[in-house]
């Protein structure tokens, strides 16, 4: 290895001389601009950030909450993966959140957060995010910053073109990546073509509480569906999905799905299909899926198995679905704030293709079709094309908008963000990212009203950017100031998991609604103990239920006897505090689960199955008070044959 480097020194010398000059020039312009970068990201101690950024955790399955411009991490919200820190998916209350038709699934791959909207503007009520692996959509309530709903998407696989909301949050949309047999059945893989289908699910949102229900599932041809975005303004009522593998290959997609020069953007008039469905259209098909809801009233989730979905075939609703030819396996499908332009980011294309909604409507009206695919009309590329951004970079993935007529596209292969102008298609600026950017985010980017001050680039690779941490190094987010003509790199910071996508919002749309605690009087948990008088220990066969309270700085009860080896002991613990930011934790030696971390006014439950005789301690795991180390207790465990009666106490020996 070293030899090779020595041999190449000559060339490297020339190379470095050449390239460092080039690069020095670009850093010169950087440095002239970013002389006050530190000032621009400095949020003084005790001050607040201007924006929240909800950044997906990718293979962590979670959603992280950062502040912009500081890049400070505030919270990691557990969504699709168990989180022992918060007992999510470990305590009895939240286990049902991870229930699916495949049983309990402790992990997933979270991808594309999107914030709810009213009238095309972010309303700051909910974040929706998709699980890619075992298809699900979650709702995070932005008063509690907790996951309060997860709905499974049946007949879907690799739930990737999700979870984007329409401009009044009428729908959250979940599109499949893989096409699969629908309904699932035992069949040869090679018979994919013509037999597998791609389902696009439209989840109706209840405007009162944000809850989702699958209104209908559209059964599309057996392509892969990559990303999607809603129309807005003039194109409100339509939804656009990028497709690839229109070849319908079932093996070696990197070759076989790259044969067609053009794939499609599927344009779907969901209002038309909704009308069809509201008039009794569609077919109810047996499909098992879980719908899990968490209630802040009883602090408990319930999982309900659903048994059918309403499916619609494109041929059922003529004139509702059209295919727009788009070069080379487009990834991002992005609609500008006016709703006129639909950008297809052909990831194997060197150009960016932009379609015009107006031209699309004209072409549809004039019935100018180039052909059809499985009965769906294909429009002519030239008829719908608004313009092409020529050779802006290599490997375009995703575009967002600043609301001032500019678009910003991420380029994976050339590792840069390119700013270009809508309408003239000219490239205005480019900045390198470190390294290999995937998606990017401008707060309000998926809305009619972007806040074009910052752009967040999310990078897959960091290599030498931070102190090394062995073979696995963090991925990163990079913050640019985009308020001027030229983008200016301000900051980069590490992220959790893989930051696939993010949603940003001005903090003032959220902060006033953020809950400080749960009112104890409203706690409807069936095992809540709202005062010391309510505490008790009861036995039902080998099940023991401990109803316990916690307050600075003791548990009540803290001495329990009469538990036996072989018992299943439920600790139902209520935090009696009614003071902001005083959680308590509890952990029991040898319990095969996580701690509990209980917010004021909340009740949570863990299960302990003692296997050994003895006197076993438990303690508070969150440094809660000056007497935190005193906050502890004992459970006496007797042999299974013992006849010691249940007893419990607090302070009896005092």
């Amino acid at each position: 290895m070293k030899q090779i480097f020595k041999l190449s020194v000559g060339f490297l010398m020339i190379a470095m001389a050449f390239t460092s000059c080039n690069n020095s020039k670009s850093s010169k312009s950087n440095s002239a601009l970013n002389s006050n970068a530190a000032e621009k990201v400095y949020v003084a101690p005790g001050e607040y950030d201007e924006f929240y950024a909800f950044i997906s955790g990718g293979f962590s399955g979670q959603l992280s909450v950062y502040g912009l411009p500081s890049g400070r991490l505030f919270k990691v919200i557990p969504v699709f993966s168990q989180d022992p820190e918060k007992a999510y998916g470990y305590n009895e209350e939240t286990k049902p959140m991870l229930n699916t038709s495949h049983g309990f699934i402790p992990w997933d791959d979270s991808h594309h957060p999107d914030i709810s909207q009213t009238g095309g503007k972010l309303d700051g009520r909910y974040v929706y995010i998709n699980a890619n692996n075992t298809p699900r959509i979650a709702k995070i309530d932005l008063t509690t910053f907790e996951t309060t709903e997860i709905i499974e998407i049946p007949n879907s696989a690799g739930n990737h073109s999700s979870s984007f909301v329409t401009e009044n949050t009428e729908y959250v949309v979940a599109g499949t990546r893989f096409s699969v047999p629908i309904p699932q059945r035992d069949m040869p893989i090679k018979d994919y073509k013509g037999n597998f289908k791609g389902s696009l699910s439209f989840l109706k949102v209840n405007p009162e509480n944000g809850e989702m229900s699958i209104k209908f599932q559209l059964l599309m041809p057996g392509f892969d569906y990559d990303l999607s975005h809603p129309g807005r303004g003039k194109s409100h009522g339509w939804f656009f999905f990028t497709t690839y593998n229109t070849e319908e290959a079932n093996s070696l997609l990197e070759v076989n799905a790259s044969q067609n020069d053009k794939d499609f953007i599927a344009a779907i008039n969901w209002k038309k299909i909704e009308e069809y469905v509201n008039n009794g259209g569609g077919t109810k098909i047996p499909s098992e899926y879980a719908h899990n809801l968490y209630s802040d009233e009883n602090h408990t989730a319930t999982s309900t198995m659903m048994h059918e979905v309403l499916q619609v075939k494109p041929s059922d609703v003529p004139g509702a679905i059209f295919l727009l030819p788009t070069p080379k396996s487009p990834h991002g499908c992005d609609v500008d704030p006016t709703g006129e332009y639909i950008v297809g980011n052909g990831k194997l294309s060197a150009n960016l293709t932009v379609h015009s909604f107006t031209k699309m409507l004209n072409a549809i009206e004039n019935k100018k079709f180039a052909g059809e695919a499985y009965g769906i009309p294909i429009l002519k590329f030239e008829d719908v094309l608004a313009g092409v951004v020529e050779q802006p970079g290599l490997g375009p993935l995703h575009t967002e908008f600043d609301g001032k007529g500019n678009a910003y596209t991420s380029f994976f292969i050339s590792s840069e963000v390119v700013k270009w102008k809508l309408g003239t298609w000219e490239v205005l600026d480019r900045k390198p990212t470190f390294y290999s950017i995937g998606h990017l985010m401008i707060p309000g980017g998926n809305s009619a009203n972007p806040f074009g001050k910052y752009l967040l680039a999310m990078n897959k690779i960091t290599k030498d950017r931070y102190l090394p941490t062995g073979p696995e190094v963090t991925q990163s987010a990079q913050l640019f100031d985009i308020s001027g003509d030229k983008m200016e790199l301000l900051l980069d910071f590490p992220t959790i998991g893989e930051p696939h996508y993010a949603a940003g919002i001005p903090a003032n749309l959220i902060t006033a609604n953020s809950k400080k605690l749960y009112k104890l009087e409203d706690n409807k948990h069936p095992y809540a103990a709202k005062s010391d008088a309510d505490t008790k220990v009861t036995r039902n066969g080998n099940e023991v239920h401990i109803q316990m309270t916690m307050i600075r700085s003791h548990f009540s009860p803290d001495n329990i006897e009469g538990v036996k080896v072989g018992d299943k002991v439920y600790f139902h613990v209520t935090n009696l505090e009614q003071d902001y930011d005083v959680p308590h934790g509890i952990a029991m030696i040898g319990a095969n689960t996580s701690e509990l971390l209980i917010m004021p006014g909340q009740t949570e439950t863990f299960v302990w199955e003692p296997k050994q005789v003895g006197v076993w301690p438990f303690y508070c795991t969150d440094f809660c008070s000056a007497l935190h180390q005193e906050m502890q207790g004992y459970v006496r465990v007797s042999p299974s044959s013992s006849d010691i009666k249940l007893s419990w106490s607090l302070g009896d020996d005092f």
């Binding site: 290895m1 070293k2 090779i4 480097f5 041999l7 190449s8 060339f11 490297l12 010398m13 020339i14 190379a15 470095m16 001389a17 050449f18 390239t19 460092s20 000059c21 080039n22 690069n23 020095s24 020039k25 670009s26 850093s27 010169k28 950087n30 440095s31 002239a32 970013n34 002389s35 006050n36 970068a37 530190a38 990197e254 070759v255 790259s258 020069d261 080379k328 194997l348 294309s349 060197a350 150009n351 050779q391 290599l394 490997g395 994976f412 292969i413 050339s414 590792s415 390198p432 470190f434 390294y435 290999s436 897959k460 690779i461 290599k463 030498d464 950017r465």
Partner: protein
């Protein structure tokens, strides 16, 4: 502090060549210009010092005495960073001889700063997002190049021709593969 260093940097840049020298030799000038050098070096993955990884496609080209023209062209077109990315990248690397076979003056002309975009397009025409062995390439009829144009793939006996250029050697890289070819592949446009 940073502001000061940036100003210092700008001044240093006036003497660009001097700065370039520093880049080659970060060890000797460390005290006052470390930050400067780091900033310049950190302009892309092409400049990461990494002797632990398998060489990437750019390093392979740089290591080859038969590809000095190609390397010079890549640098003149400013494409280094595109070649060190995660890719995967398949580079069809014409030899010096292949470049020499072009009409006289072609290469010199392309290396002129005003022809940078043209040169970049020609070079991108030699790059495919992918990583396929010569054997595996026989499955293809064409490849989509980074130039946004396709090239044909033809099999003649044991040989594979890409855009009319014959693959004469193949070297696997950390981020893809380099196929050495005997001709420069010229895009249609």
């Amino acid at each position: 502090m940073k502001t000061k260093l940036n100003i210092l940097f700008s001044i240093l840049l006036v003497a660009c060549f001097f700065n370039c020298k520093n880049n080659k030799n970060t060890q000797t000038e460390e005290h006052s210009t470390t930050v400067t050098n780091q900033t310049a070096e950190k302009q892309g993955q092409a400049f990461i010092k990494d002797d632990g990884s398998k060489p990437n496609v750019l390093q392979i080209a740089m290591d080859s005495k038969d590809h000095t023209t190609l390397v010079a062209a890549v640098q003149a077109a400013g494409l280094e960073n595109a070649l060190v990315n995660a890719g995967p990248l398949m580079v069809f690397a014409p030899t010096n001889e292949a470049f020499a076979a072009l009409p006289e003056g072609t290469v010199a002309n392309l290396l002129k700063p005003e022809n940078k975009a043209k040169l970049a397009l020609i070079l991108k025409h030699h790059v495919t997002p992918g990583n396929y062995s010569k054997e595996f390439l026989k499955k293809f009829k064409h490849l989509g190049q980074a130039s946004n144009e396709n090239v044909t793939v033809e099999v003649k006996g044991d040989d594979v021709y890409v855009g009319g250029a014959k693959i004469i050697a193949s070297i696997s890289a950390g981020n893809g593969i380099v196929h050495v070819v005997d001709k420069v592949i010229i895009p249609k446009n």
